[in-house]
């Protein structure tokens, strides 16, 4: 190892502050940063400007807040805004309740647990458009299987997707059908992580299984609840594909959401208005989700 001595280096003057290169090179960020920066961040920032214009991709005229004013004036646009919030509330609420119940059931000493977990989870992986088309057929008011089934039980089924008061909720139900599996597996992960000692201690104290659920499972799987709420709430606010595959926002504007409005305005060539829709959705998420996250996480800190 005598080779180590290099005359040039040995005779060099002191070099106090000279730094060697970090073993964790900054250029590792570069490919991701370029793609993400150009294709996601740049359009997002640009949308803030274009939402203030009348725009046809080639030229844009600055019109101030006219697009946003229109959003709050036109009844069908306001309808989309309200629908979006309702849809997000309904889907995330149902996913939390059903997901938790299913997870409790599927972590209990029940038979065919593996089969049940698989069956509940599989729809998460299936094409949303495929699910939408299938349920559109199943929910047909007269020839759909759901209403035929209900008729066998002597119930007259509603016009799921053709009744303007019901269409949005019907789509939300299908959303829950497809998405509850994800909520369930998140809850299962949360419940499985609860140490068994708590249940054993509670059994010695004479707790019933309902008390177990109320005083142990529910509070201790709170992180899972936070995750499910936030995840499904954001998903609900952004939802487009299922609504588009099932109702195209119809009948009329009955099941329009902000995301479907964005697409419709884009198709109609109102690019400025469409982009304003994007900004509205962005603000909606920021205004609803950020405080929600803070609220949920703060309470967690108190416990």
């Amino acid at each position: 190892m005598a080779v180590m001595t290099e005359t040039g280096v040995a005779g060099a003057a002191p070099l106090p502050a000279m730094k060697r290169r970090s073993p964790y090179p900054g250029w590792f960020f570069l490919p991701a940063a370029i793609i993400y920066g150009i294709l996601f961040l740049l359009p997002t920032v640009a949308s803030l400007y274009f939402s203030l214009t009348r725009w046809n991709l080639f030229s844009s005229t600055f019109i101030g807040f006219d697009n946003f004013a229109q959003f709050l004036r036109e009844p069908f646009l306001i309808k989309g805004l309200i629908n979006t919030v309702i849809y997000a509330l309904v889907t995330s609420g149902l996913k939390v309740v059903l997901g938790l119940l299913l997870a409790v059931l599927l972590t209990s000493q029940i038979r065919a647990r593996g089969y049940l977990r698989s069956v509940v989870f599989f729809p998460v992986l299936v094409s949303t458009v495929g699910v939408g088309i299938t349920f559109t057929v199943l929910m047909h008011p007269t020839q759909g299987m759901i209403n035929e089934g209900l008729a066998l039980l002597g119930i007259k089924g509603p016009g799921w997707l053709v009744d303007p008061n019901l269409a949005l909720f019907s789509v939300a139900l299908v959303d829950v059908w497809k998405g509850v599996g994800l909520a369930t597996v998140i809850y299962i992960a949360g419940i499985v992580a609860i140490p068994k000692d708590y249940y054993e201690a509670a059994r010695i104290d004479g707790a019933t299984s309902f008390q177990n659920f109320l005083y142990i499972t529910l509070p201790l799987c709170r992180p899972a609840t936070v995750t499910v709420i936030i995840l499904s709430f954001i998903g609900g606010l952004r939802t487009f594909d299922l609504i588009w595959a099932m109702t195209r926002g119809g009948p009329g504007f009955a099941s329009d959401t902000v995301a479907s409005v964005i697409y419709k305005q884009y198709q109609a060539g109102f690019y400025g208005l469409s982009t304003a829709g994007n900004v509205v959705l962005f603000i909606l998420i920021a205004v609803l989700v950020v405080p929600l996250t803070m609220l949920l996480n703060r309470r967690e800190g108190h416990e």
Binding site: M4, T5, P16, R20
Partner: protein, 359 residues
């Protein structure tokens, strides 16, 4: 041929200075141990030598080459980590040979070196296994093997035995000593275990708060500690200390007395000490004798081990001492006891904490 030379090394993280100017010279083939309490900077210093931490100031010379800005791979060092750091996805053979592969060593040379290292460490039968199939001791061997094939100028060990159980630790300690003899390479070893330091080192470096407290041979540190910190850190059980007042100072003795100690003349260097000064007197638990003498105390706790007896003692001032007496002594807590010691075994520390050994 110099092994390793540290000149006024400094290391800061932002405002916080963790290594405050370390000078050290290690000759080729020496076994140097860095000891100190956790957070004293010993691992940081080792990692600076390895090139895993940047050097803020000062110079690092390895084998007559200034290495401040040299990449770790070009420093002529190899390192054994506390948790072994074996690559889990490679066999033992590939773990040992990874560095050679990166250096594009021809395959036959590589194979020969790997087998040679395996032979030295008696692990030829393990070469095809994955790290997960090895015991702690075997993993340690592989980690050392990985260092050996690099044929480094300096071996660096970062608390390599701390994850082994007590019995295995003693075995590996002896093997390391033998390895050092066989290879004759410079080794720098970090530990918080003073037994490892005392048994392995040619030279111990005691660090505290990023400052070198003392450098010396193990027995020198035990017998002539430079200051209160080293005196308290080296030796087990810990040295006992009491505050005493100086009564008179002569050429080679300082006469002291205190609440816990009747007047006694201690051989020491009295330069700069005046009668009336408060100094600290240190005496090791093993050096106390159960005879009528200068110290009186009350027994708090007794541990009778047969060959020796450990006594916790409460002194009149309230200070508590530990006494180790040879042989068995039937004592009870609450009982008074009188002790004495050979004044030549005691050490006087000045108000600045520095030891005043007799010159």
């Amino acid at each position: 041929m110099a092994g390793l030379e540290l000149k006024s090394l400094h290391k800061s993280y932002g405002e916080v200075e963790v290594i405050k100017g370390v000078d050290l010279s290690v000759t080729h083939g020496e076994f140097v141990v860095f000891v100190g309490p956790s957070g004293c900077g010993k691992s940081t210093l080792l990692r600076m030598i390895a090139g895993l931490e940047d050097i803020t100031g000062g110079e690092l010379w390895i084998a007559d080459k200034l290495c401040n800005a040299v990449e770790p791979r070009d420093r002529g060092i190899a390192m054994v980590f506390q948790n072994y750091a074996l690559y889990p996805h490679m066999t033992v053979y590939d773990n040992v040979g990874f560095g050679l592969k990166l250096a594009k060593t021809p395959k036959d040379v590589r194979d020969q070196k790997i087998r040679e290292a395996a032979k030295i460490l008696q692990m030829e039968h393990l070469l095809d296994r994955k790290p997960s199939q090895l015991s702690g001791g075997q993993r340690q061997r592989v980690a050392i093997g990985r260092a050996i094939v690099r044929q480094p100028e300096v071996f660096l060990f970062d608390e390599p035995l701390s994850n082994l159980d007590a019995a295995l630790r003693v075995d590996m300690r002896m093997e390391l000593a033998k390895l050092h003899q066989d290879l004759g390479a410079t080794m720098v070893y970090v530990t918080h275990d003073q037994v490892e330091a005392m048994t392995l080192a040619d030279k111990i470096v005691v660090l505290n708060g990023g400052v070198v407290q003392q450098v010396g041979a193990p027995i020198e540190l035990y017998q002539r500690p430079a200051n209160l910190f080293v005196a308290g850190f080296i030796g087990s059980p810990k040295m006992n200390f009491i505050s005493v007042t100086v009564e008179s100072v002569a050429a080679d003795t300082v006469t002291v007395a205190g609440k816990d100690l009747a007047t006694m003349a201690i051989p020491a260097d009295g330069t700069g000490i005046k009668p009336g000064d408060t100094v600290t007197l240190g005496i090791r638990p093993h050096d106390l004798l159960n005879q009528a003498g200068t110290i009186v105390g009350e027994v708090v706790l007794v541990e009778r081990l047969g060959n020796e007896t450990n006594i916790s003692l409460k002194l009149p001032s309230g200070a508590s001492w530990l006494v180790v007496l040879d042989g068995d002594h039937d004592m009870r807590s609450g009982q008074g006891v009188e002790l004495t010691f050979d004044p030549a075994r005691a050490i006087i520390f000045g108000a600045d904490g520095a030891a005043r050994h007799k010159r």
